[in-house]
Amino acid sequence: MASPTTTADAAIPEKKGADDNYLTHDKGFASWAFTLDHKRIGVMYLASVLSAFALGGVFALLVRTELWSPGRTIMEHDTYNQMFTLHGAIMVFLVIIPGIPAALGNIILPLHLGAKDVAFPKLNLASYYLWIIGCLCMLGSLVTNAVDTGWTFYAPYSTTTQTNVIPAAMGAFILGFSSIFTGLNFIVTIHKLRPPGMTFFRMPLFVWALYSTALIQVLATPVIGITLLMMIVERVFGLGIFDPSLGGDPVLFQHFFWFYSHPAVYIMIVPAFGVVSEIIPVFSRKRLFGYQFIAISSLAIAFLGFLVWGHHMFTSGQSVLAGTIFSAITFLIAIPTAIKIFNWVSTMYKGRIHLDTPMLYALAFLWVFTIGGLTGVFLAVMGVDIHLHDTYFVVAHFHYVMMGGAITAFLGGLHYWFPKAFGKMYDEKTGRIGALIVFVGLNLTFFPQFILGSRGMPRRYYNYLPEFQGLHQLSTIGAFTLGIGFLLTAISLGRALKNGKPAPKNPWGGVTLEWTTTSPPPYYNFHTPPPVTAGPYDGYENLVYDEKIGGYVAKT
């Protein structure tokens, strides 16, 4: 790692005006490209992740359009296979995994902790550039002969297909390191850079969620790294580990793959729990119900997530005993997850609820995640899973969780922290309409897929029996509704960036530390670490709304 001179530091004049912040601190391409500031890195991540999301979304729409009618609608078999593979790979590796932790987390985590930066700013920047390189690799596969293995890269198909699997797998490998670096950074930051008085049980739940996520990132990602590396070597040299024609075992690949990819599911959803746990109390003006339980259950879910990978393989011929153990542990995860939902709902009881955009997204999250979680139970029941495995039921389930859970929470968090990160208010009305359309589109797209799946429609099908057409068309209409919702949200936020009203320090009345600095925060966040004397959701009664500034101030 060559040492890029930190232009940021070099260029700092001794004094700046009162309105100096990290966005205006210094200018020019280099001041962003070589920045070590966590907020700027977070903003770059945000922009990149959102671009990738748009690209993955376009692929999703193409896939859904193709499925409008059985047989050919707009593209050929092979193109379709490439489209859904790219959609999956981009959404998983480029969007959802880095989405909340690397983009929102980078901006918010040090602010939450009253720290000046993450523990290793250079590693943070390196992680971002690894993301870029990984992204370029994936695009390399896209523009040549795009990979068609499905995002799961199952051997021996992946070791024998004619498409360009290697750049895509290489991309995922590199993105793994990006993810490891972020996780490592966050763990150290949370351990070593907390302000005086902030014990572990005074940390905001978003921090807890990021901590659990980071643990999974650090512990699971190396395994997928080595697996993909072996797969690549197998393709190039015929290593003979996974391909049975060379003496390998394809089921071993599945074990390796899911050993990472099941915990990776929690990399995607646990940060969403964190975001929702932040939003609901602030917009209910009330302490979170069962704080300790939610905090610890994140860790528990992260831990249990390592022990259930085999539930993806009930039909792979693994032994009945193995299946039984994996199924039992899977049920263990269901319970803390259910309790979390009950806790969030009870937080609203006797609160004073403000239905602003972030809260709407949080409510949407509760709705879709309840459905997504319950349908997960169907899949944990082994006998039923045999029927549902690899059908649209599974597709619908994980879209309810990933898309409905992780992405709505991501959007909720984005709206919640947007004023803090960019110092601008978005238009509340457009924001709410966007949230509503996204919510309707989500259910319209994915609910019919449950019925398709339980009736026996397998996933990754280009062609289908005519009986399934009606439900497929509903789903396609839903997908376009979703697209419109996202577009509207993007326009709304884009306009806010340009012409939004200046945001106050504390527009929502939060009591976590990020709301004590200016919006946007100054370059080094806090002059001295702010002392912490109470829990992260205590003291809403000490704030009053000031209509003149449009935000909350301390009660005098």
Partner: protein, 334 residues
């Protein structure tokens, strides 16, 4: 091209879902599916109950406790930060439900994974992108691309794959098993209703994954033997191009080779015989009987330029009579 393939499959073969009396599930036609459907129904009702409960609570709270405006500076009413009785209830109730579901699911799984000893055995072969099923005849064996089974008799399917992963999925029997190259896997079922049910490939296997369909015909009591006898006789007596033509669709040749001149995964068979083909290494080679035979036994030995060496070997799958038949069939395609 796709339409063409679809058309090929469509007329006689495209399986139809039998009408089901359940909104969610396809018609159930096996012994094990009853159990599974019961658990399914139970879960659907529990889920509906929980979902409605959560939604009603959310709507109730956001209407009842909606804040007037930010300026009103309302403070939430004091309420407990936790309520032990409530928390225990909502932890323990789901736990019981989960334990019950686990036990039922386990039972269903064990039922699905333990074939009765007296089960009749059939072999299913998966290859890109075709299912074939082997039957034992009085003399030798017979292969067909449709699964025929008798009613009310347990059948154990031994599944293998020659190339990549596939999965044999029969929705009406609520069963599914991966076909893993290099090893055997198995599943079993006992059909309870005569009829015709679709078979899907459920594990992604490349280009024509979604066309890797077949169907299972459940013969009413006593008729399976009659069918098998007839089919065996027919297969045995067929020779020459007629045999080749049957094998063309049965053995999955049609998934890669057309007979109308359009190249697909492999060269079209139309006008193939006697043609000079350019091989991948740049040498021209005349397509004769020996070349065709070699291409079936050792497909990667001489690959025509412009095509991927992706054909599996048919060594051991085709008898000499079969090979002769196929060559004769190709010869007729001028």
């Amino acid at each position: 091209m796709t339409l063409h393939l679809l058309a090929l499959l469509a007329e006689p073969q495209l399986p139809k879902l039998a009408p089901s009396d359940s909104f969610w599930l396809p018609v159930d036609a096996s012994v094990t599916s009853r159990n599974i459907d019961w658990v399914w129904d139970f879960m659907i009702w529990v889920s509906l109950l929980v979902t409605i409960g959560v939604f009603v609570a959310i709507f109730h709270f956001i209407t009842k406790y909606k804040a007037k405006s930010r300026a009103a500076n309302e403070i939430a009413e004091k309420s407990a930060e936790h309520n032990t009785a409530l928390e225990i209830t909502w932890s323990v109730l789901p736990l019981f439900v989960c334990i019950a579901l686990f036990v039922w699911g386990f039972k269903g799984f064990v039922d699905l994974r333990t074939p009765p000893k007296e089960a009749m055995e059939l072999h299913a072969n998966a290859q890109k992108w075709k299912w074939t099923f082997d039957y034992k005849c009085a003399t030798g064996g017979m292969t067909d691309d449709t699964l025929h089974v008798p009613i009310d008799r347990p059948v154990r399917m031994l599944i293998s794959s020659v190339d990549v992963l596939h999965a044999l999925y029969i929705p009406s029997f609520r069963t599914k098993m991966d076909a893993v190259p290099g090893r055997y896997t198995d599943l079993w079922f006992q059909a309870t209703k005569a009829g015709d049910y679709p078979i899907f490939c459920a594990e992604y296997c490349g280009t024509s994954h979604s066309d890797m369909l077949s169907h299972v015909v459940v013969h009413p009591a006593g008729q399976y033997e009659t069918w098998l006898k007839g089919a065996c006789e027919k297969a045995d007596s067929m020779v020459g191009p007629e045999r080749g033509k049957k094998l063309y669709s049965q053995q999955g040749c049609e998934t890669c080779h057309t007979i109308d001149g359009t190249p697909k995964i492999g060269p079209s068979w139309k006008g193939l015989f006697g043609k000079m083909e350019m091989m991948a290494d740049g040498t021209p080679y005349k397509v004769d009987e020996n070349y065709l035979r070699e291409s079936m036994m050792d497909p990667t030995a001489k690959v025509v330029q412009g095509f991927a060496p992706s054909m599996p070997t048919y060594k051991g799958k085709l008898s000499d009579k079969d090979i002769d038949g196929l060559i004769e069939f190709i010869k007729t395609l001028k």
